[in-house]
């Protein structure tokens, strides 16, 4: 049995198809990453799974409840951190948590126990009674995370939880998520634009583009799935004219780019190509001025599957979309 099961899920806004027939499932205990360019349909997908937007067609089951027909059971099983900041700035951290606990119908005795514990878990005990308008971006995010867990959900949805945070806060949020997942036995579904984060933390990653699934696998397998496992960046002094051809003839080389003395070589076996390259250079009396070997990153995977780094696209309109209110992220 899966915690999340999506079958041929589709969402249209007028003529615009935001999610176009997605199917996948998430196992219990996974951290499942959703990657994709702006406008790819990630947020719409999350909103359908969290009962905020009804699907046009297809089915989605969360904790084995249908998101349309058993919406309230779904809501009871999930914690959601939407893109927008949904806590009250004027209220204190503790008040915000208390109000949400009441919205989930948690009785007073249990509230008194769980709220201090949650504040402790997200390192906000010290600031519990301060209004959150005084909080930094990272502290607000941590509070939102605590808020999403106030009713002890099984599945946790986070839409770009680290957008707009400084690198230190980003690391803190991710470490916290990894710890909470372990301690609370959560299944986490998260969207992000930061490839390094996704690489380190996600068990599996789905790359979504144009509302469709472009790739789905573990980060390691995704990186292995694209041609060339390593990139060699080499500069030479005194390289002859046909030097690029010599490089192309080396074993395991997939592609060579560059001219004169500077080359970028894609290879399926970095170490072997490096050894052969040094050998060839010595034989031809060419000096290697500098050399670096890099592994393929998730960035390369992303670019490979979506075909672009940055793209302008129409977004699915949302009820909460307004030009007058600033939001944390602008993505989908």
């Amino acid at each position: 049995m899966f915690d999340v099961e999506v079958k041929d899920l589709r969402k249209k806004f007028g003529d615009f198809t935001a999610v176009d027939g997605l199917s996948f499932s998430v196992e219990h205990g996974e951290i499942f990453g959703l990657l994709g360019p702006n406008g790819a349909g990630k947020s719409t997908l999350i909103r359908m799974l969290t009962t905020l937007v009804p699907p046009t067609s297809g089915t989605a089951r969360v904790n084995n409840f249908d998101v349309v027909r058993e919406a309230n059971s779904v809501r009871q099983s999930i914690g959601v951190i939407p893109q927008a900041m949904t806590s009250d700035l004027e209220l204190s951290a503790e008040e915000n948590l208390t109000i949400f606990a009441k919205l989930y119908g948690i009785p007073r005795e249990k509230r008194k126990k769980t709220i201090p514990q949650l504040l402790e878990e997200v390192d906000l005990t010290q600031w519990a009674d301060k209004p959150i308008k005084m909080f930094s971006g990272g502290m607000r995010r941590r509070l939102e995370i605590a808020r999403g867990l106030v009713h002890q959900p099984k599945i946790f949805f986070l839409d770009e939880p680290t957008t707009g945070l400084d690198p230190v806060s980003r690391v803190a949020v991710w470490e916290m998520l990894a710890r909470l997942k372990r301690e609370r036995d959560l299944t986490i579904i998260v969207t992000t634009h930061y490839m390094d984060e996704a690489d380190k933390l996600c068990d599996r990653i789905a790359i979504v583009d144009h509302g469709k699934l472009a790739a789905l696998d573990s980060p390691l397998k995704l990186k292995a799935s694209i041609p060339g496992k390593n990139i060699l960046e080499v500069s030479f002094t005194g390289a002859p004219k046909n030097w690029a051809d010599t490089l192309r003839a080396l074993p395991e080389v997939a592609e060579v780019k560059g001219e004169d003395n500077l080359f970028r070589i894609s290879t399926n076996n970095g170490p072997r190509t490096t050894v052969e390259l040094l050998e060839a250079a010595r034989n031809s009396n060419v000096t290697v001025a500098s050399l670096s070997v890099q592994s393929t990153t998730l960035d390369d995977v992303f670019v490979y599957y979506t075909g672009h780094v940055l793209r302008d696209a129409l977004q699915a309109p949302s009820a909460a979309e307004s030009p007058y209110i600033m939001k944390r992220g602008g993505g989908m």
Partner: protein, 370 residues
């Protein structure tokens, strides 16, 4: 019900932390009460009347004496004497004086002969209020002028005796009921309109929608939270307003209790109306843009500032469906006439039915998704 209270609690806690909003919703109506109350309510004084006497005989002099006595006592106008009619008319057109009283030649002869003597008032009718005050004052002067030095014991002239049922009601007191309703309206507009849409646009509602709260609980929570804030504004106005307007025994507990019932009914009706208007709105500019229009359309046709009997037919239609009308009528009964609740039961019934209907339609239109 726990969930409804959570929404109310959240709203009231926020409200308590931003008293500026509270202040705005009460100060505007109080300012209006004071400024409009004194601007329109006072008696008109110190008008300038040019007097051109072409007669100069004793009956004309008797008229001069009466004008002088008005100038000294009631001070409605001061006579300014002109020898040339053309000068007086030029000053009238230039706005230096408000009217010209002309005593024609032969006036005295006609008075003594009993041959329909007349004086003429040439008035600047661009200012209706000053003109009618002047005409009214001079009109009431003439019967005194005409009165016989010794009146006959039995008069055949029919006269009107006026009996006022209530103590004198200055305009500021007439205005107070409308201003109380206005305070409740502004509070409903801010709480039920502007803040509601801002919260929605900011994504705060998204936080509610992912919890297992029902559609009805959400609407009830929003409505009650808004109504409580509007009631607070109303309570301040029924007490502070009564004191400012000079209502006799302003803090009479029984009357305040009756007014409180009406404040609650008004708040519920106006907040549910606001919610019905805003239920499908997402743009934070909308409530701000329609604020002024709604205020004008609801406040003025309600009879709060001018009697509804003078309205054209189309405006009377608005008057009939406007919850302001019934609220204002009810407060007039309670404040100006100190009646019991029975006298306002019709108003309370209308406001109650209006609330139920508006809430029902709003619930039907409300979408529990983004």
């Amino acid at each position: 019900m726990h969930r409804v209270w959570a929404i109310i609690e959240r709203d009231l806690r926020r409200f308590r932390r931003s008293p500026a909003l509270m202040f705005i919703s009460m100060v505007m109506p109080i300012v209006q009460l004071v400024v409009l109350g004194y601007a329109f309510g006072g008696t008109i004084k110190n008008l300038q009347v040019g007097v051109v006497d072409k007669d100069h005989a004793v009956p004309a002099i008797k008229l001069h004496e009466m004008l002088q006595s008005v100038a000294v006592n009631a001070k409605t106008f001061t006579p300014i004497y002109y020898s040339d009619e053309a000068d007086a008319l030029r000053d009238l057109r230039n706005g230096k004086i408000n009217g010209v009283l002309e005593i024609p030649p032969e006036f005295s002869r006609k008075v003594l002969a009993g041959a329909n003597p007349r004086v003429a008032l040439i008035e600047d009718n661009t200012d209706q209020f000053a003109a009618s005050a002047l005409a009214g004052n001079l009109n009431s002067l003439l019967p005194a002028y005409n009165a016989q030095p010794v009146s006959p014991r039995m008069s055949a002239t029919a006269t009107l005796s006026i009996v006022e049922v209530y103590p004198y009601v200055p305009y500021i007191q007439f205005l107070l009921p409308g201003v109380i309703v206005l305070a409740v309206f502004i509070s409903a507009m801010i709480g039920g309109g502007i803040i509601y849409i801002d919260d929605k646009a900011r994504g705060l509602h998204e936080g509610y929608l992912v919890t297992p709260i029902s559609k009805f609980e959400l609407i009830l929570g929003f409505t009650l939270a808004g109504a409580i804030k509007a009631v607070i504004a109303g309570v301040v106005l029924i007490t502070v307003g009564s004191i400012i307007a000079g209502i006799p025994d302003p803090l009479n507990p029984l009357r305040l209790a009756k007014m409180f019932v009406l404040v609650v009914a008004t708040a519920l009706a106006l907040i549910s109306m606001m919610f019905l208007i805003m239920v499908r709105v997402n743009d934070p500019l909308v409530p701000r843009a329609i604020f002024g229009m709604l205020n004008t359309v609801l406040y003025f046709p309600s009879g709060a500032v001018y009697p509804t009997q003078s309205f054209p037919q189309w405006m009377k239609v608005i008057t009939t469906v406007d919850p302001f009308t019934y609220a204002v009528h009810g407060f007039k009964q309670l404040i100006l006439k100190n009646t019991g609740l029975m006298a306002v039961s019709g108003d309370l019934l209308f406001l109650f039915c209006f609330t139920v209907l508006a809430m029902a339609i709003a619930t039907l239109l409300f979408r529990r998704t983004l």
